[in-house]
Amino acid sequence: MNSWDTVLEESAAEVLGSMCFAAPEYRGSGHLADAAGAAISFGGEVEGTLKLVLEQDLAKQLAADFLGTDSDEVTAEQTRLFTLELANVICGTALAGIAPGRHYHLGLPEPIAADGEYQCCFSVAGEAIDLGLALELRN
């Protein structure tokens, strides 16, 4: 596990804990099939993209926890918006640790489908549900 992975792991744990009261368990690298998520690009002195994919049952549950409601009441649109916001906040948190003092700006998060291996995967609430992140830095 390199230092970026450590920052990603800590960022995901901090954000999921603060936003959704979840305690993710780190599982190393992995590959999620049939999952959807969000990607957010950033540019400036550091450039790259952070991708996040997660199984939709988890996304729905986390969205419910974020909104303080039951998952039965969470719509597909709310789940989609929550996933975008989650990527946005994890990216900002991770960059604070990875590139302190550098100039950069975040783009707007966009929906994606799972597309390969991600270096940081998690379980949430002990279920076979994964959260994957991939980060690429240029410059």
């Binding site: 936003m19 916001e85 946005n88 948190t93 604070a96 003092g101 550098r102």
Partner: protein, 135 residues
């Protein structure tokens, strides 16, 4: 009652912040706008006691909105709190130099952070609510 305008392109984040504000001991009425342009329009109509705004938004960013508010002789008096996922320190420091920006908070924000902002705001200007209500 404190009138608060939330400006964020994510309706979920606005809902989260509104819920967090309702969990404080302050009586608040929360109003919403989804970008800087609609935020300025809402501010003009509502004259809120506080604007809490995101930075990265389509159409007009939070930074552009803060600068536009400063150029307006009435709206320039409304205090603004920045709430953003963008963690770049220089950007935050630059924004804090604007007279109307009271604080920059980083997402994920905790209800406690918002409560502290409201406490600080009402302690610094206890007459604020009364004045704005009278308008």
């Amino acid at each position: 009652m404190l009138k608060i305008l939330l400006v964020d392109d994510s309706p979920l984040m606005r809902q989260f912040v509104a819920r967090s504000l309702s969990m404080t001991e302050f009586e608040v009425s929360v109003h919403h706008a989804d970008n800087g342009r609609s935020g300025i329009q809402a501010a003009r109509e509502l004259m809120p006691d506080l604007i809490i705004t995101d930075l990265n938004m389509p159409e007009m960013s939070g930074e552009e909105m803060v600068e536009a508010l400063l150029l307006d002789k009435v709206l320039c008096e409304i205090p603004v709190v920045i709430l953003t996922a963008d963690s770049e320190q220089n950007r935050a420091e630059s924004l804090l130099r604007h007279a109307n920006v009271q604080a920059c908070l980083r997402k994920p924000v905790r209800p406690e952070d918002l409560r502290q902002q409201l406490e600080r705001m009402t302690a610094d200007a206890p007459e604020l609510v009364m004045e704005r209500s009278a308008w």
